[in-house]
Symmetry: C2
Subunit: 250 residues, 2 copies
């Protein structure tokens, strides 16, 4: 009985989160309920590895709260951070197009709670349900655009500009001349996310502080002149500030 | 009458090319014929700009023969080469998820012939035809994987390793110890494709020649020990040689 009760609660927590996700936009409530019924809530502590690349993919995930790092490792053991995802974001769902194996590894980087959903159900649903297939296409197109810009930045921007871009993405769209921000995760991980060694990151941050008025105190960043930072950074990008995807749909 | 005759010929040329493309895999011949009927064959000379980023997207394209460069420009005018596509490849189709605007510019880099297809028809067909939607999802998943690896390489590999990877991708899957290759397009464009300035590219190529036995004579490259090149390059990648996507479906 208590089992059944707990189960209902879990469904009630999960269904509204799924319903808000772009994957389930315009999808009938019954279909969302199918997923919510098969879902599990999984708490995870920092450093928990959720899956490794090439593992058989039984589940895909939505971050309920916390942060998750996606990465790949070279044969020599160097880690490439592909993405760092906050709450609301989905991952692992692309495994249905990867022979049911994960194409990256996933690790929790601070205490998090995850919604686990069966990939098998997603596979069946994509095949039958045109709306879910189209939502997934739209979401992949957004990822494609983000990745194209990331490749462009790695090709064209210098390290201080890439840090400037990372900071501007944390700013709200409507912002005053100056703003105080909090870094979302630690600097070592920001460096890895931006494809920099820690020492490159430190040097680049110092250079950025010389170029635009900026103070960094632990995780707190004070940008004193947004426009200067925009000029320094966004002139070396094919998009203008504020980015279209700043308030990106998931 | 001659108009009608020319039209029939064009359809007969285009339909089999489309039918072989992964976008139309398992799609009924009538649907393929719908596209072939609306298609146009467009010859284009070197340097012809097919469209610019943000142009309204009326057409998407398949390269019948030749090469097409996809790129984006920063506000300052620096060009980032996103891809260089040979025959058989499709581009511009993602505009149906980008408010019917192109998200990059496209320029022909040598005498080419292109198949132009109306994006409007694609939009309608994706909405009705589950097979085309699923084929497009599979194709986007492949692009996603390629882009993820490209980001990984830009983050982790040095310039000579990135050139090594480019060369290995030109090798057939089953290859002897040594091989002679032809560079598919000129070195300036290869440098841009790999996100390098020409002088960085030259230095990196010299370094690569020191590390593995390699001769380059104009567009001809002789790799004298594939295994050495693989060790030098692929240990710094999360995939092992030969890459799964070497003989990539389009």
């Amino acid at each position: 009985m208590s089992q059944a009760h707990a189960y209902t609660n879990t469904h009630d927590i999960i269904a509204p989160i799924l319903a808000r996700h772009s994957m389930f936009e315009n999808v009938p409530a019954e279909t969302v309920a199918l997923f919510a019924n098969k879902a599990k809530l999984k708490p995870a502590t920092k450093s928990k590895v959720l899956f490794l690349r090439d593992d058989p993919a039984e589940w895909f995930y939505v971050v309920r709260y916390g942060w998750v790092k996606l990465f790949r490792e070279t044969l020599e053991g160097t880690e490439a951070v592909i993405d760092v995802l906050p709450s609301g974001h989905m991952f692992g769902e692309n495994s249905v197009f990867e022979n049911d194996q994960y194409s990256y590894s996933a690790e929790v980087i601070e205490a998090s709670e995850l919604i686990m959903l069966p990939t098998e159900l997603l596979k069946q649903t994509i095949a039958d349900n045109q709306t879910i297939a189209l939502n997934m296409l739209a979401s992949m197109a957004r990822h494609h655009r983000q990745q194209s810009r990331e490749i462009e930045h790695l090709n064209i921007q210098n390290a201080p500009q890439r840090i400037g871009c990372f900071l501007l993405r944390l700013c709200p769209q409507e912002t005053a001349r100056s703003i105080t921000l909090h870094l979302p995760y630690d600097k070592t991980l920001i460096a890895a996310r931006l494809g920099m060694k820690p020492e490159t990151f430190s040097r680049a941050l110092n250079k950025l502080k010389q170029e635009t008025p900026l103070t960094i105190n632990g995780p707190t960043v004070e940008i004193r002149d947004i426009e200067k930072l925009v000029n320094y950074t966004c002139n070396h990008c094919s998009d203008s500030f504020p980015c279209e995807d700043l308030n990106l749909k998931r």
